[in-house]
Symmetry: D3
Subunit: 341 residues, 6 copies
Amino acid sequence: MNTTPQPYAGNAFTEIDFEKPGRQIGFINFPHSPHSDAWGVTQVPIAVISNGAGPTVVIEGGNHGDEYEGPITIGELARDLDPGSMQGRLILMPANNVHAVLAATRTSPVDGLNFNRVWPGDPMGSITQQIAAYVAHRIFPMADAFLDLHSGGSSLDILPSAIIEPSGDADLHRRNVAAVQAFDAPYTVVISNLGDKRTATAAACAAGLVTVGTEMRGCGAVSLDALQICRRGVRNVLAHLGMLVGDASPVCAERPILELRGPSAYVYATEDGIFEPFHANGEQVSAGQPAGRIHRIWDMATKPLTLHYGADGIVYGRRHPGRVAPGNCCVVVASPYGERK
Amino acid sequence: MNTTPQPYAGNAFTEIDFEKPGRQIGFINFPHSPHSDAWGVTQVPIAVISNGAGPTVVIEGGNHGDEYEGPITIGELARDLDPGSMQGRLILMPANNVHAVLAATRTSPVDGLNFNRVWPGDPMGSITQQIAAYVAHRIFPMADAFLDLHSGGSSLDILPSAIIEPSGDADLHRRNVAAVQAFDAPYTVVISNLGDKRTATAAACAAGLVTVGTEMRGCGAVSLDALQICRRGVRNVLAHLGMLVGDASPVCAERPILELRGPSAYVYATEDGIFEPFHANGEQVSAGQPAGRIHRIWDMATKPLTLHYGADGIVYGRRHPGRVAPGNCCVVVASPYGERK
Amino acid sequence: MNTTPQPYAGNAFTEIDFEKPGRQIGFINFPHSPHSDAWGVTQVPIAVISNGAGPTVVIEGGNHGDEYEGPITIGELARDLDPGSMQGRLILMPANNVHAVLAATRTSPVDGLNFNRVWPGDPMGSITQQIAAYVAHRIFPMADAFLDLHSGGSSLDILPSAIIEPSGDADLHRRNVAAVQAFDAPYTVVISNLGDKRTATAAACAAGLVTVGTEMRGCGAVSLDALQICRRGVRNVLAHLGMLVGDASPVCAERPILELRGPSAYVYATEDGIFEPFHANGEQVSAGQPAGRIHRIWDMATKPLTLHYGADGIVYGRRHPGRVAPGNCCVVVASPYGERK
Amino acid sequence: MNTTPQPYAGNAFTEIDFEKPGRQIGFINFPHSPHSDAWGVTQVPIAVISNGAGPTVVIEGGNHGDEYEGPITIGELARDLDPGSMQGRLILMPANNVHAVLAATRTSPVDGLNFNRVWPGDPMGSITQQIAAYVAHRIFPMADAFLDLHSGGSSLDILPSAIIEPSGDADLHRRNVAAVQAFDAPYTVVISNLGDKRTATAAACAAGLVTVGTEMRGCGAVSLDALQICRRGVRNVLAHLGMLVGDASPVCAERPILELRGPSAYVYATEDGIFEPFHANGEQVSAGQPAGRIHRIWDMATKPLTLHYGADGIVYGRRHPGRVAPGNCCVVVASPYGERK
Amino acid sequence: MNTTPQPYAGNAFTEIDFEKPGRQIGFINFPHSPHSDAWGVTQVPIAVISNGAGPTVVIEGGNHGDEYEGPITIGELARDLDPGSMQGRLILMPANNVHAVLAATRTSPVDGLNFNRVWPGDPMGSITQQIAAYVAHRIFPMADAFLDLHSGGSSLDILPSAIIEPSGDADLHRRNVAAVQAFDAPYTVVISNLGDKRTATAAACAAGLVTVGTEMRGCGAVSLDALQICRRGVRNVLAHLGMLVGDASPVCAERPILELRGPSAYVYATEDGIFEPFHANGEQVSAGQPAGRIHRIWDMATKPLTLHYGADGIVYGRRHPGRVAPGNCCVVVASPYGERK
Amino acid sequence: MNTTPQPYAGNAFTEIDFEKPGRQIGFINFPHSPHSDAWGVTQVPIAVISNGAGPTVVIEGGNHGDEYEGPITIGELARDLDPGSMQGRLILMPANNVHAVLAATRTSPVDGLNFNRVWPGDPMGSITQQIAAYVAHRIFPMADAFLDLHSGGSSLDILPSAIIEPSGDADLHRRNVAAVQAFDAPYTVVISNLGDKRTATAAACAAGLVTVGTEMRGCGAVSLDALQICRRGVRNVLAHLGMLVGDASPVCAERPILELRGPSAYVYATEDGIFEPFHANGEQVSAGQPAGRIHRIWDMATKPLTLHYGADGIVYGRRHPGRVAPGNCCVVVASPYGERK
């Protein structure tokens, strides 16, 4: 732990004892007073597995409620990981945006907020802000490393990849790159969310934690392949961090790093219609090349409108639903990260 | 044309002249009087391409509003098919459930109805019933053949396949099988919707039309592969019916026929949670074998619940969204059709 | 009374005694059992003013819930008309689609139905169907004449006019025309709703009642001018029918009759956008002439799309809200009725 | 079984074997194809306990989704009743309006219908109509008796009582009265729903079944007292019908029978506001006496409006929520049934 | 008045003159510009009754919109209290969360906020924040005492009680206890809302006002008993504060004080289902004892789940609706306050 | 440019080059991550037309989404204005509250906010706050003048008028008055929004820009007359500002200035019902005179309630929809501005 964080000033409570060895499974309870339940709580699931000296690692799933490989992996660790087989403390949070998880939506149905745009949260704010504040102010100060396990969600179909949150701290950046490469996903990508600092991984970096992100396919579905990648990658990172011994797969050292180079990486819809993509994920494309067409299937007299790529690279992700409206992200291109190293 | 249908008794109108040669693109207008538009119409797109003697073929898309390969194919035919290259009359309806198509939903947002459970419709009913009645009472009597181009929709991921609607008329059944096999999809499947006769294809069979269905992937997305299968299959069937000449791909005569054998073909969820399937579409499975697990990712103390197959065959389709509730169809198994031939 | 109607078979009840002289104001109570009120009723307001021998006249308002000149006029009659000043029986129903009236919507928020598309109703149907059935089966058999006071509603801005429901019974048609002309509105128009027979006025004609309709401006607003026309016109008709004595304004005998000549009377939107009309209500226009433009104000690079008239005549009404979607009725043209007399 | 019912013509299916002895717990599956689940089913829970010769008794709960004493009692019987301790066949359906049960609403969130206003249902109708049709066409023909366990639901607070559905068949009526009195509830009341024949108990009577209803408190809550009454009453009736032996509590033979005497039994709100009742359930009241006041708490300058009783009797039930709107049932008065015996 | 509060910086206005003697009934008008009314206001009802020297007492109702005994009592005072019978100034606000009061919901339908979690408000915030700011910044500075009249609301059934808001100011705390005991409710309870300081009573304490809270039953209903307790209790407190003379009931001096001892006082649901409580309000219970069961009435094969108390004391309140979801407060236990005195 | 504004700190991006001469039409893209589109953008349309030296003028439309004359005028300028015919830089933003424009609502359907109550915005806030921040922090610093083109919107029918935002800076106020009078609308009115400083025009004044507002009729409709006034007025102001040469209409110098004098200018509804106004817009009225009546058309026994004016002047605007609820603004009176000059 290497920062002096803001102390937690909210009124969440839990029966979990973060200092206790062994396995505990429970909830963080946030008092919540909607029409349907004046004196109730929002229950955010948490497990702690602890054994002797070693790093404290936090694994988050359910940052968005429609991304599943991470939460399944976290639940399996919580039930199956033998405390005797590890060193340190593992804090498992599979469903942090819990109202969204129950509703299978990206954003919270309670306050409409995107959990990944409210960090470092507000302990007296709405429920989404409160949960982020608990993690940022109460959990992060105990932690050395943070894994935030995303998939593409309902609207995106993304190549399974491990994600590097860019950090201005060169040493932390180097350690983040090493941890992300340890995950050994098919692709490794630097994603800055166009510079937005209100994400969980940006907050973790700001708190000095070694930080690993993922994008494990998506479409609001469970991918069999990506689930295997996720299970294996998480164990790889825990081994890399010294928590698991003898468990890591050999990492493919040669994997290149990609990045999303600002707005030109994104192909946006400019009309209502149905988007027909021209290339599969992983295909090589170049700026100016046609990327797909928007068909107005309810208006046969209108010709389809062609969209074009704005960058060279590979197709890293595509919009999942066929229906598009102006502004929707239809395709994302990832380019080699070399130029900025 | 071989039936004496109920004459159309509704008040829809159109500028399309079904007897005129050449290409026409327009709309069927259904007077519709909601709050937002007292004297307006619901516009259902239609195109007619006609040239000399030959069969009348109707192609429907947008029976459900979140299935896209068919509507894209239909729109391309409407704009691109040279009347001089064909014989007969082609009636193209890419978005029959037009309110659902605009909303990208399976069922109509206007009256909540599933267009494929209201046939033969009601010309004085709600808007969905009116559109079905127009097709059943006004279009079917002009037609010799009907193609209903479905995909799996938002909730299902299905093997691209051509579908046989079972008919009690042995001769019609034989002609249907031949037309469906002409489509030359990777799979050919007999689907009875558990005997429900309120579907478009059941109504077409009842009207004596040669009837071809499809299921072109799904997930609410456009599939590049399935779109190619659909474009090619539709032209194959039009060639088989004698409308297009010299255009058909050679059909793979050996393709076996599958069927969904009643309730045992379906694996239903019995709990709330996230369904992890164990097999990809197309894999061989057998009754009693584990089919997948439901994870309660918001409740780590609960072990996943295993579901089992009820039939032998191949995995024909799977639920697309990860989130399931009791009763949701998680997996569908297709079995060889041989036994009943 | 000249028909043998279907007897009323529902379970509505009222404290109103239709045979009692003098003034009564109350409600028809329809048992209604939604979530919020298991054993409650829907209360439809009614007043009866009766004095000696004479015709029974029914005046309906609130057929749609966002049309106001009629209901205001009816309420004033209910409170202010001296029974001693009239002959016969006046049945006043200002808010028949009462849930829509309370919500200020065209259609009922309870069952989504348009009250003017369910006649002659169903005493065991949904609440909208039940109310229509009560009027058709219980009230119409007592009546000699029916006035259905509409305005344009939220979506239409219409020239204040008295409306003739076309009847196949030549004698009734003649008496209807006379009664409608007695109203002495600025315009008299024959409107058939494109032949739809599920309206209140069509049902009244079918029951043999002298029938008068109106369209009193609209826009979901109260028009000062149209309110005066309505107050005066209703009294004119009651005098014409022999109910009020010495009360009628002199009728302008020369007023021509207009009609809406089928689909060509309507200009429909073909795009999303904002419709800018080119002519005010009452202006003379001709088929083929530009009627207005649709501006896509969120997409400045796209030029406005021009719509054209399909008939010669005067602009009888226009869409009120600026925002249009495909199928919306933008302009209505009324043409001289002479040709079909 | 004593009627020749319409055979069931729907496509629901179940693994329950109605002819098999012993205990079975499962579901009736109704194919249901909404946007969220194209090929899924609605699962209606059912249990059958069978042992040797004896009557077939059907117990329904969850006719409305916010009434709980019956469903809890039914679930306990399904799990705990020893087949060896009974004679005949017990068919237990605790949640027939299952979508409403899951949503805790009176009416179905799927089609908006009140399950108790659709009988005898429609096997090809909407889901609520389909479930009623299954019970009426498939279950009733197997049955000798029917218990329909209601409580007051979210909007009513009712005296715990057993209910007699009036039957025109004098012998059936006599047997119904005997069975209802065997329930031995604190009150016994004849309720005709103002003559509506579309209820489950009216359909059961029409099918010739001995029929028992209940109203077990309500308010959308579980009542400790009423739950005990319900558990004991159901066993009393099963003993009375010869299914359970040696289990019946001694019945209080002297309990008088009450009835709701048409519209005058109901006190309806005439204004928006908060209803303050003047008497508790069970108190003696008389026609003309003040029943309560409506306070407009957001408008202090307006005096409360007093409502009055329309009948002599006891306060049998009251509206539960404080907020009222015109037409809401505020109080219900039950009067002695003697006059009509 | 004993604090230097933040001056009110909003733009609400009123015709009420707080310095004028006698009775005034009116509204505070908050400019509010939603879609439906661009230049309108939200009207919050207020009355002021003033006579000579004496304390200024503010009574709030409608902090939540589904709690009725307080607002009814306040409206009666506003209409019926003779200014000549009192000393000082009484400020009556029966419906502060006025949009929620009209909708009968706990939280505001306009901005979704819980009025009792936004204090001291924000004069430029959303409408709920603006109303709180008006009371905190404009009304509190004029006041000596504050009564906040709550009931349990739609989700809770609570023992009628007067509530002490804990204050760190020992003298104020002593005066608060005396005023609360003067209310003479059946129970007196210290409730800290788990330490949340964003409530109206916490804001009043922070402003140095003598503060009295209540919980008057609940369930979203009007309780006859609690309404009498509330009417009498308010007058008792006004007498205690020196505003009413000769009006106070003799207070039962021996009533013990209870408290809710943090999280252990609450029994939370851990599953979806129907909660059957085991004890009535007021019964003595102890930690570890079974508190009730959750029945999954749609899934008879699953056994009910038993919940247990976490504290010794009496059952102070229970969840009202039968349907529960994880995190819902099912039971609340109040324990003797002695330990912390 | 005459202030040192807060630099823009958000992450919106655009292909528009504000320094480039000639015509550009495009969008400002705001990264926006809702459920339906994780990596998409909200596209706010913008055009820049630039030619040589001269002032920078910003014209905003679509501040509210149901006001149309301004956006139509702006789109026409963007497409049709010849850069060679002007001097300086014209920044055209026709649909700033773009989600509301697409939905035809006053307030944003995305975050529920009124765009004209969030200035100067928040670059990290919700989408409405972000757009305002972009205009205030990125556009205003480049600008010399700001035109904010409003109409009355769905709820108000207003006399076409040019609006003066009051400024405390006497010199700016003088320049504002001159620019507003140059618009040459039928009426010129000072409107302070009851002192609210969170509007676009207040923010523009605070930034030192010459500021012109408008109210161009309303009712949610396009007014033919007001559209001509708007087209002409905008060109008049651009000529006045030195941007267009030889284009200005001669201004009627004698037009008096009116103002809305605080709360007394507004007549608010005090009951639910239908408001019948007594005077047309533009008529002279005086304080105390009856302004209209509220009819409860669903309750004929209740007499209409009369409302009265609170100020002398002309009727400047009226509520458009007939249906009113307490607090709704029914009429607005404008009075001569002389007194405060």
